[in-house]
Amino acid sequence: MSTLTKQDTFNSILEGAPKNFESERTLAKESYFAQGLPALKAEEYKFTSIAKKLEQTIENFSSAQAFEVSDELVKSSIYPGFEGNVLVFSNGKFLPELSSNIEGLEISALSEKPETAIGSIAKVEKDAFAALNQASFVDGAFISVPKKSQVEKPFLLLSFNKSNEGQVIQPRIWIEAGDFAEVTFIDQSVDLSETSYFLNKVIEIKGGVNTHIRYYRIQNEGKNSIEVSNIETDIQQDSRFTSVNISLSGDMVRNNLNLNLLGSNSEGNMYGLYLLNGKTHVDNHTNVDHTIPHAESNELYKGILADQSRGVFNGKIFVRQDAQKTNAFQQNNNILLSEDAVVNTKPQLEIWADDVKCSHGCTTGQLDEEALFYLQARGIDKTQAKGLLLYAFAGEVLEHIEEDSFREYCISLVQERLGSKF
């Protein structure tokens, strides 16, 4: 198995891991070695061979350490119009001195919270990369939103990533939200690397009863990132979780977004948009696990692919035997703009309960010629008309961002992309 040879170079990272969370790290290490990196034909990584990509681009791996981030850099990196709390990370390490201090909330480095049950949500046996992260992450953050606190302003998780040749950055964040809490997170990374690097991220979100958690993420890093993220959320009764993921660039990006609906009357919404060009390869794997009756999930992922880009979507809705009265909807639409763009999509339903309503749909096509003609007949030139139609297509995802400033920011990025590129 040639794809496993990277394991040798990962060994140094594993050996160099800090001496905390020992039992969790040992468990993860065992699991990682038992699984190995996903082989070439592994079902879950069929179209996105991260292992092969790493093999081709990176010679030797080492863990990237935190570097100094200046106050100016932080200020200039925050997107325009943002108002709220900023949490700053340097190669995954939390920097409290540069971060907002919010009263009532407990925010600290993960190493200061050794009792945190890391790996209890993003389980190591599910994914080899999650196991790799758990076995060898350097440090991360612990964020606790107490009961009944409604944090009006969003949190910006601002990560600065800088890596020398072939370094691995492994951020890890644990978020817990107490009962009746409401909170919004915006996840943004700033890439300062010149060369290829491997970003292997894990975020675990634990929601209490009647919580409302929003997680927005923009992936607009450089062209050098080989990226795997495992974001997994548990939500309880009467809770709602909404995620919006906007992918604009990267070399090869794989997002595993897992949502476990553990209490009745809970609702999960997952939205995603990928606008790809160049040779960017983005793979979104989502998994909604309906474990209890009376829960609902909605999913909408849309993609516009140009040049030689490749978009992969694999949406899995898993309805367990006890999860009667489940409503689950999933949709994936793609527009291909060039001869060389490729889409692989697999909307998957696994249903073990009978009293459910589940549906999924997916389409792949191109812009409607008639709509284009309609606009052109009214004096809008072709490029503009195309941009307009594509923007309308993308807008359906963007409108699910409830945080105004972030939505505006994303709209401006999308418009810029559609205007300049297409």
């Binding site: 001869e339 490729v342 249903i351 073990w352 309960a353 009978d354 459910v356 309503k357 749909g361 792949t364």
Partner: protein, 481 residues
């Protein structure tokens, strides 16, 4: 609830209609699988050297392969060394006409409702009847040969039309294709061969009827249909097996070749023994079916009604190579008790302006698992490819499962591909609506299920549609969850 239980009880206690077996003298291969067995089969069938070599090559390939495990089915592994690979009813000499066929064999088919006595037959269907490993009779040969149509058992084709067999055998499903196709290529015993010459429209339905009778044997038949330019044929396949406690293996290969402007319609009503209500016994149905639309404007249409088998693993596929060719797949898969089905299709768009349509209706009841697994692939050259897929699942009972695994791989920007799937149970409002109008719950369910499957059943030739509807009713009558 008690009423539901009662109905379910009735349903699950329903006996498999074709569960009997007949004792007749049989010519059997020794148990086990090795090169000698293959030589033995080949010699038994008086095959030419090239075919024996082809078989041996396939056997070597098979030995180097491992059993596929990706399918969403679980079953005890098959012990390939414990099977018999050849079993044929003893006949003193090859019958020249139907009158010479052993009346006992004809009686078996009479009992199944397949009349081989062509004079008495009202509908014009030519039947090739395959019992265990060999073809026992083929009807209407004379009428067909006047048109130049060749319809005979595979062994006969090897003897009489070796050039055709040599040309097309393995051209659509190569022996290296997959584990079971390789096994079949090595040990296949008989099957049907059908050749429609250029410009001929086959005047009657051609049909193969498969029956497994012997115990501990595997059935490995091979069907090859070649439709030359501008020809048309509609082909039916039916199958049953006796009720036995142990699992039996059925690994068939069907190959269809359609030249330019040809149309082939292939319909299956699969009713192998599904195992009893505890899930004991039943047939493992691991089948490779594939057609190639080699010429422009050709069309291949698969219709299947899957009600039997303990484990089904079957993906009738179309390779749309010719420009403007069309592939269709219509399927109703019903699973009950402990049955497991992993079935679907593959549509590979290679030519320009190719179209495909997939309609799959799954119905799961009892403790069964029903999966749809399909792939739509649009290659780079396939400009203006069009696909529409719909796969719906109906669940009855809270212990069954319905799963959908559609793969959609697009490499051409002009492709239009749509896929939609729904899963639900029979709506209480629908039942209520029927009840209100004096239709009993049981009848209402039958009505709704038939309506649900109608889109597919409509595709079947009339004679089969009747059988399929009866089968559906038999498998699902009253199974209201």
């Amino acid at each position: 609830m008690s009423k539901d239980n009662q109905i379910l009880e009735e349903l699950t206690s329903k006996e498999y209609e074709h569960g009997w077996s007949v004792n007749y003298e049989a010519d059997e291969a020794p148990v086990g699988l090795n090169e000698d067995i293959i030589r033995w089969i080949s010699a038994k069938k008086e095959e030419p050297q090239w075919l024996l070599e082809w078989r041996l090559k396939a056997f070597k390939t098979w030995q180097s392969m491992t059993e596929p495990e990706w399918a969403n089915v679980h079953y005890p592994k098959v012990d390939f060394q414990a099977l018999k690979y050849y079993s044929a009813p003893k006949q003193n000499s090859k019958p020249k006409s139907l009158d010479e066929v052993d009346p006992e064999l004809l009686a078996i088919y009479e009992r199944l409702g397949i009349s081989l006595n062509e004079q008495k037959r009202l509908q014009g269907i030519a039947v090739d009847a395959v019992l265990d490993s060999v073809s026992v009779a083929t009807t209407f040969k004379g009428t067909l040969s006047k048109l130049g149509i060749i319809f005979c058992s595979f062994s006969e084709a090897v003897k009489e039309h070796p050039e055709l067999v040599k040309k097309y055998l393995g051209s659509v499903v190569p022996m290296t294709d997959n584990y079971y196709a390789a096994l079949n290529s090595a040990v296949f015993s008989d099957g049907s061969f059908c050749y429609i010459p250029k410009g001929v429209r086959c005047p009657m339905e051609l049909s193969t009827y498969f029956r497994i009778n012997a115990a501990n044997t595997g059935q490995f038949e091979r069907t090859l249909i070649v439709a030359e330019e501008e020809s048309y044929v509609s082909y039916l396949e039916g199958c049953t097996a006796p009720q036995r406690d142990e699992n039996q293996l059925h690994a068939a290969v069907v190959e269809i070749y359609a030249a330019a402007h040809a149309e082939v319609k292939y319909s299956t009503v699969q009713n192998w023994f599904p195992g009893d209500k505890e899930g004991k016994g039943g047939i493992y149905n691991f089948v490779t079916k594939r057609g190639i639309c080699a010429g422009d404007f050709s069309k291949i249409s698969w219709t299947q009604v899957e009600t039997g088998s303990a484990v089904t693993w079957k993906y009738p596929s179309c390779i749309l190579k010719g420009d403007n060719s069309i592939g269709e797949f219509y399927s109703v898969a019903v699973t009950n008790n402990y049955q497991q089905a992993d079935t679907g299709t593959k549509m590979i768009h290679i030519g320009k302006n190719t179209k495909s349509r997939i309609v799959s209706k799954g119905i799961s009841a009892g403790k069964s698992q029903n999966s749809y697994r399909g792939q739509v692939q649009v290659m780079k050259r396939a400009d203006n490819a069009r696909n529409f897929s719909q796969c719906d699942s109906l669940l009855m009972g809270d212990r069954c499962g319905a799963h959908t695994f559609p793969y959609i791989d697009i490499q051409n920007p002009s492709a239009k591909v749509e896929h939609e799937a729904t899963t639900s149970k029979i709506g209480e409002d629908q039942i209520f609506y029927c009840n209100q109008r004096g239709i009993a719950t049981e009848d209402a369910v039958a009505l709704i299920v038939n309506g649900y499957a109608k889109e597919v059943l409509n595709q079947l030739p009339m004679e089969f549609a009747v059988e399929a509807q009866k089968l559906l009713a038999l498998t699902l009558e009253g199974s209201v969850g």
